[in-house]
Amino acid sequence: MHPTPVHPTPAVRLDHVSKRYPAADDTYAVHDVALDIAQGEFFSLLGPSGCGKTTLLRMIGGFTDPTEGSVLLDGQDVTGLPPNKRNVNTVFQSYALFDHLSLADNVAFGLKRKGVPRAEIRERVTGMLDLVQLGHLAGRKPATLSGGQRQRVALARALVNRPQVLLLDEPLAALDLKLRRHMQVELKQIQREVGITFVFVTHDQDEALTMSDRIAVMNDGHVEQCGTPEDVYERPSSSFTASFMGTSNLVPGTYRSGRVVLDAGPELPVGNRPALTDGSRVNLSIRPEKIWLSDLEPDMARVGGVVRETVYCGPTTTYLIELAPGVTVSVLEQNTVRSRMEDRWSGGEQVEIGWKPEHCLVLH
């Protein structure tokens, strides 16, 4: 779990942290998480609600203390320090702007606390408001702004302090889809520009995939998998990651010396070599877009099935194919292959589908 960092000391090191609430039946909100986040990295904590990602972020920010383990910022143990003694800043989900202060005063808040000289404050605040394209609104109160503008103020208010690490708690969740797409690009640009480490919490896998250098997929208080977007998408290490990151077909079977015998019948080659004993129950994971419906190549794994449903979605068509009673896989095909309706498969037809062995993973 500790990949070789680019920079000698990681910006953030979570050293086997856990958070337990004694009141709630001794369940763990976060359980034994060990992560290194490199300097200048755009790092995402991704997972469904309640998976512990926000708790983890609050531990880095100093709003929650871990019950076990320690938090290190730039090599220094900060466990137990209050938020105001840590050189990290947070963009809150609700933005948490100070409604009684103007935009400029909101942004200047942190610098004033630090005792930065007045002239420098003015200069840095102006620069930061310009960076987020709100320079012309400096005198306004937050209540008069739109959601996207408020989001930018929150970002500017945090970034102006030049923190070691910027924590972002689902900052785009309150925006509509179009604005969210726009802000994703803008956030990424700003991050590159300022070169600060971003730790980004989200439940939106598209957002994590498009913006992050690395992603930690979280489930039920622990990290399921940590790696580059390509890693976690193409090579999920667990059934949870495979199904949380986009859609994946999970076909039940039994492991036997590097191959899998599907419950549906055929024995198939797979792309990875997990440390499993023969006879283990496993899931075979194949992404819908990696399954071929025609022009199968000789080295492909092949399975027969019956088309049960054809769903046309504009650029793509999704077929639901039943391999055996109760075992159905979905197959996604670009509509360039069969562009006209009469060429598409229809319900009840017998088909043979296939995939390249390296696209098919055994998951425990």
Binding site: T54, T55, G62, F63, T64, D65, P82
Partner: protein, 288 residues
């Protein structure tokens, strides 16, 4: 998820301290003092003496006191009923038909309530007086004759209590009706037909909690009031508040006054208990 850190809350506890100490020192201590003195006696000069003496408690059994207590209870209950009868239509009309004047109308009810209680009661007693505008109007339309009186009667005292505290009934009822889904009333029209039946079967149950809160808010001050009985009533209309006032100011029997105060508290405590049990039951039913 919104957990605050274990450190820090000490500040919040420190903030609690001055207010709690103040309230304990003045209020709780003083109420305990009343309870203690209720068992005391007076020396020959009339000065209060602490001690354990059940005389005051047995004195409460005196039929004269029982009459006053029952009268106070009766007045306060009738006041509650009249307030309900007045507040329901008023709250209903404002909440459902007030339109954009809703807030203005409610403010128009609340504002005079904040005017000085005595000045309002005094004005009300002028209105209700024998040659005041109300009786003159009633005589003119033939409803009342020359002998009809409002002041110096129980009706006058109750009129004073209603005028004094009706706003406490209107506000919670209005809030309950605001929360009520108006489509309920439309559905009620379909189910029950007439507006009266719709009101009884739909509006009243939906606003029961507001009405209960209003009853408590009216009953408490009405039971303890002594101004209305003084300004609107005569010697035969005195309430328990007047007895207490008398024992502390004219009669100079503080232990007996304290005992009467405790009696008043006991009655109100029983009433509150009933109200709390009722709301608990309602909440339990709502949760189911």
């Amino acid at each position: 998820m919104a957990d605050t850190k274990a450190r820090g809350p000490r500040l919040w506890t420190w903030l609690l301290l001055p207010g709690t100490l103040w309230m304990t020192g003045f209020l709780v201590a003083s109420l305990l003092l009343v309870a203690t003195l209720a068992l005391g006696t007076t020396d020959p000069l009339g000065n209060p003496r602490f001690g354990f003496n059940p005389d005051n408690l047995t004195a409460l059994a005196d039929p004269a006191y029982r009459t006053v207590l029952l009268r106070s209870l009766g007045y306060a209950l009738i006041t509650c009923l009249i307030c309900l009868a007045v507040a329901y239509p008023v709250a209903y009309a404002i909440a459902l038909r007030g339109g954009r004047f809703k807030n203005l109308l409610i403010a128009a009810i609340v504002v005079p309530f904040f005017a000085n209680y005595l000045v309002r009661m005094y004005g009300w007693s002028v209105v209700l007086s024998d040659d005041g505008p109300l009786l003159r109007f009633l005589r003119a339309i033939g409803v009342a004759d020359d002998g009809t009186k409002i002041l110096q009667t129980g009706a006058g005292v109750i009129a004073g209590l209603v005028y004094g505290f009706v706003v406490f009934m209107i506000i919670p009822l209005y809030a309950a009706m605001e929360r009520m889904d108006t489509s309920l009333i439309e559905a009620g029209r379909d189910l029950y037909g007439g507006p009266l039946r719709t009101f009884l079967y739909v509006t009243v149950p939906a606003t029961r909690q507001g009405a209960a809160a209003g009853c408590v808010l009216v009953f408490l001050p009405a039971m303890g009031d002594f101004v209305s009985a003084q300004l609107m009533g005569g010697p035969d209309q005195i309430m328990i508040g007047n007895l207490i006032q008398d024992k502390f100011f004219q009669g100079q029997n503080w232990p007996l006054g304290s005992a009467l105060t405790m009696l008043l508290m006991a009655v109100l405590f029983l009433g509150m208990l009933g109200y709390l049990r009722r709301t608990r039951k309602d909440e339990a039913e709502a949760a189911r």
